[in-house]
Symmetry: C2
Subunit: 231 residues, 2 copies
């Protein structure tokens, strides 16, 4: 049984409605895979968008920042639109018109709420750490009360949300298929490319297993190649 | 001689002003490295943000889409904020509070203009192709008049723009440096992971050199490792 978010006026896709995904599990998976989300808000009548880290607990996205953050104060006084996108490939068609991008994205519309309960604030920090890297929270110094007090945390309910994706080969027009032009997909991946130890502080601390075997991103290896013989 | 964009009320950074970069060349380089930008606009008083492909010609960002696109019609009737972000690494500090992300981003504020001149429309398609992959434009079928007519093109002047970046190791508090906790940076890279030929159409077209030697992204190889001996 798959739970779904309700389709609203804003999450209904006017073009290519078959690309709209409302499945909770699929939406959460795309959200959990990102490192930064894009938060759009309105400031003095004009649109603004900023990248920021985040975490998720159930049906809430948590974002934290300084008490002085203009984004947080503007966002908390109105609505936001949060976007997470993963680029998976470049779609090279024979017609320039049919070029596209393979991607997965989630858009969440909502009215943010400020989190003031200290326990929920700490839980949101933990969610942020878990989001970046499982196992990290147990190793670090958790925020103290001074740090908690200087941090504003907001949560955005994931209630009005839609995922979109495109995958697979290009869709050329029939009359373009016989052109002497290579067509297909270039695969793009975000990979873990290694770790650099902080030159400050203790140098004898072993590299934790959750870094050695970083599971959120694939390690670097070429996974696919063109599937036909070269000329 | 480095040309700079003028600092405005909106591009002045209130926090960490030293992270603000107004240098044209640096801003263009960050823009040119992306595949999708995030376009924020206001629709019925509420913020919206969508990912989309783009190209750049000089001091203009070009975005095209269907004549039916809600985003384009809303964007063309007001202002937009365009964001491009590259995530370069995860910054693991000893205190959870000091965790961060290494990234480069550009934000452009502006009022989009519709492009109606057919020559400029074709030039914007070419810029899009060049943006994705140099050499591609010469191989593909350029847009015909039917395709041009069904496409809305907008350009956003790059006049009010700021880049922000963070790089390097974590910044922990002095009193945290001796903790028994690995700290440093996890490197993240976007890489070219191979090409898949379209199973439709001609299968005998050789793989072009601009794909074999795709220069916009590094090929997959581990570039850095932890710089100290393991325990």
């Amino acid at each position: 049984m798959t739970e779904k978010y309700e389709v609203t006026e804003r999450t209904k896709l006017t073009r290519r409605p078959h690309r709209g995904i409302y499945d909770k599990e699929a939406i959460h998976a795309i959200l959990d895979e990102g490192f930064m989300c894009n938060v759009a808000y309105v400031h003095e009548g004009a649109p603004r968008v900023l990248p920021t880290g985040y975490g998720r607990i159930g049906d809430y996205i948590y974002i934290h920042g300084s008490n002085q953050s203009t984004m947080l104060s503007a966002a908390l006084s109105g609505e936001v639109c949060v976007l997470v996108t993963h680029v998976d490939g470049l779609v090279l068609a024979r017609a320039l018109y049919n070029h596209s991008v393979n991607y997965r994205s989630v858009v969440v519309f909502g009215r943010p709420e400020e989190v003031t309960d200290p326990q929920e604030k700490i839980a949101s920090f933990e969610a942020y750490a878990r989001h970046v890297l499982k196992g990290r929270f147990a190793d670090v110094r958790p925020p103290n009360s001074k740090e908690l007090n200087s941090t504003t945390v907001m949560r955005i309910p994931i209630a009005e949300a839609v995922a979109k994706m495109r995958s697979g080969p290009p869709t050329d027009f029939e009359f373009d298929l016989d052109r002497d032009c290579w067509a297909g997909e270039l695969l793009i991946k975000q990979v873990f490319a290694g770790a650099i130890r902080d030159p400050q502080g203790r140098q004898d601390v072993p590299v934790p297993r959750y870094i050695e075997e970083y599971e959120k991103l694939p390690s670097v290896e070429r996974q696919e190649v063109d599937n036909t013989p070269d000329a």
